[in-house]
Subunit: 344 residues, 2 copies
């Protein structure tokens, strides 16, 4: 999909959540990442070699990935200047923002002149249909969240990996730019026309009959006033048999919305199950994933244990403690309960 | 926006709900409609003179409005042939489907050759921002529904008209193709990129300080698995002080979804208020609008009375009985309760 290896662009970012696309690639495709590009004013690092554009090309980089995101998805002048420099140095440029690289004439001019690619990851398929909500076969798990950027993609990838280790057939279904860059396929849900949100997910995870799982990457939050429409359509389109709730206990307020509190885990889980039941009447919550990166190890254990107790579900930090507790819990659910919409 | 007068296209439609755009224009802009075009196989009529393309031009029609809609919003071959004939006869052509007139080469060719316009109503503004959910000043009423096409636009227009008759400043805020054709402005919400649903409504009905009302046309239903994402973002973006629930008691199943039952009014109202509270904590339901067109007058009265009793809210058919009962109810709500988000 995108010529590797990659130079990961951090640019002028000072928001560690905003570089999650670059971080996702560094974490899940480390073999394809030769280094990171960051400006003098960027305090962040992914722990990769810090390279200039020219050094990256010498190190073999074929594509600079603009792995940053912001609400609204626009590129500022600094990013455009850096993208132009990457092209001049001889790299393709890939990005997943709403504003398309191909709509920036100066980048198009350089790319054409140098014979390089501008790759806009956030282009949804052109022939989507509206959802129909009809029961379909297959096992589907959806990650949902109290907020944006709380680890839904990470949890989804960890669940797929752990399932596969147990011999369970499982596929990661990417719905965001980072997940798509990692998986090499998927649908950028937040760029889909509003009428087709649930239909896009029905396309992404159609009926399956191999007893395998589609693990669908969640987006946004039912409690985020900017993006809850996407989250709602995703729940309906996913028709999930199982839901995993993701949360960042260090998050003081909703991302991008100063002063707005996060919902409680209990309230958020109830709301997600209520919405999901419209197309998946027997949906169940099967676990909680916390991002405890700001906690000490004992504090993280304690936080997970207390959350598990209060909600009556396994709770883990997938990065620190894996997701076996969730898979163990799922395997204990009666098969008659597990085969839900597929039996209709 | 669109050169009047209009020829209203019904084409080959046999679905009376599917011609709602043509019907909306016939109802709310009768002075601009010279006739209707319907094929030999079309059993429907709007009660306008049935005209050929050529007769319509002789009667003064400047634009043929393709006032039909279908899930997915595509144009079939018959519609394209008829649109071509309208152009050849000398009329502009307007449509509000997802598939754009300008993307159909044969129509573009004729329009260019004849110097006529192809008008795609469903183009959202290009510079939308994501919603922020911050409390904003002004009175806003949103119509919501148990299903698609149950009279939300009609109720909204009736409420605006009745408010204005009482000397209340009120504006209709269109969110769909029909409403936009009637109002001459608005945002086609279902064509907006998913990330911007709530932001589009914040743009459509921004802060206002004149004590007037924005009456926002609802879309879809929280209980429609194809479109609930749009309805959710609309609720959050609208930040409504008041909600009116619209319903068609003759509707046996959700539109386009054979076998799927409609929610009860009570359940639907509760769900809408719950979702709306995320951005408008003091939102209230102020009335129910029923489409009783298939009922006798006594049966319609009875249906409204029973619904009002069971929900403790005024209930009316806006077409038959007007909406004064709803405005009376709103005027009785304590001002301290009415000024909600505007006071924040």
């Amino acid at each position: 999909m995108i010529p590797a290896p990659f130079l990961l662009y951090l640019g002028h970012s000072s928001d560690s959540v905003g570089i999650k696309t670059s971080r996702g690639l560094a974490t899940f495709r480390p073999e394809d990442c030769v280094g990171e590009f960051r400006s003098i004013d960027c305090p962040l690092t992914l722990g990769l070699p810090r390279l200039t554009m020219e050094a990256a090309v010498l190190a073999g980089a074929r594509t600079m990935v603009v792995g940053i995101s912001n609400a609204g998805g626009t590129m500022n002048a600094e990013v455009i200047i850096d993208a132009a420099a990457a092209l001049e140095a001889g790299m393709n440029v890939a990005a997943g923002l709403h504003q398309r690289l191909r709509d920036i004439p100066e980048l198009v001019e350089i790319a054409v002149r140098r014979g390089l690619l501008l790759i806009d990851v956030r282009d949804p398929p052109g022939n989507l249909e509206v959802g129909n909500g009809r029961p379909r076969a297959g096992h589907r798990l959806l990650t949902v969240g109290t907020d944006c950027s709380v680890g839904k993609m990470y949890a989804s990838l960890a669940l797929v990996s752990a399932m596969q280790k147990r011999g369970i057939v499982a596929d990661f279904r990417a719905t965001g730019q980072t997940g798509m860059l990692i998986a090499g396929e998927g649908i950028p849900l937040d760029a889909v026309i509003a009428d087709f949100i649930s239909g896009a997910i029905e396309r992404l995870a159609p009926s399956r009959y191999d007893d395998g799982w589609d693990v669908i990457e969640g987006q946004g939050s039912l409690f985020h006033p900017s993006f809850a429409g996407v989250s709602t359509g995703l729940l309906h389109g996913a028709q999930p048999e199982a839901i995993v709730l993701c949360h960042d206990p260090a998050r003081a307020e909703m991302r991008g919305l100063p002063g707005r509190a996060l919902p409680s885990l209990d309230r958020c889980l109830t709301a997600n199950l209520d919405v999901a039941r419209l197309t998946s009447p027997h949906v169940r919550a099967v676990g909680i994933c916390l991002n405890t990166s700001t906690f000490s190890e004992p504090a993280a254990h304690d936080q997970c244990a207390r959350t598990a107790d209060s909600l009556g579900l396994p709770c883990t930090d997938p990065f620190r403690f894996g997701v076996d507790s969730i898979l163990d819990y799922m395997s204990c659910i009666e098969p008659s309960q597990r085969v839900t919409s597929a039996s209709s």
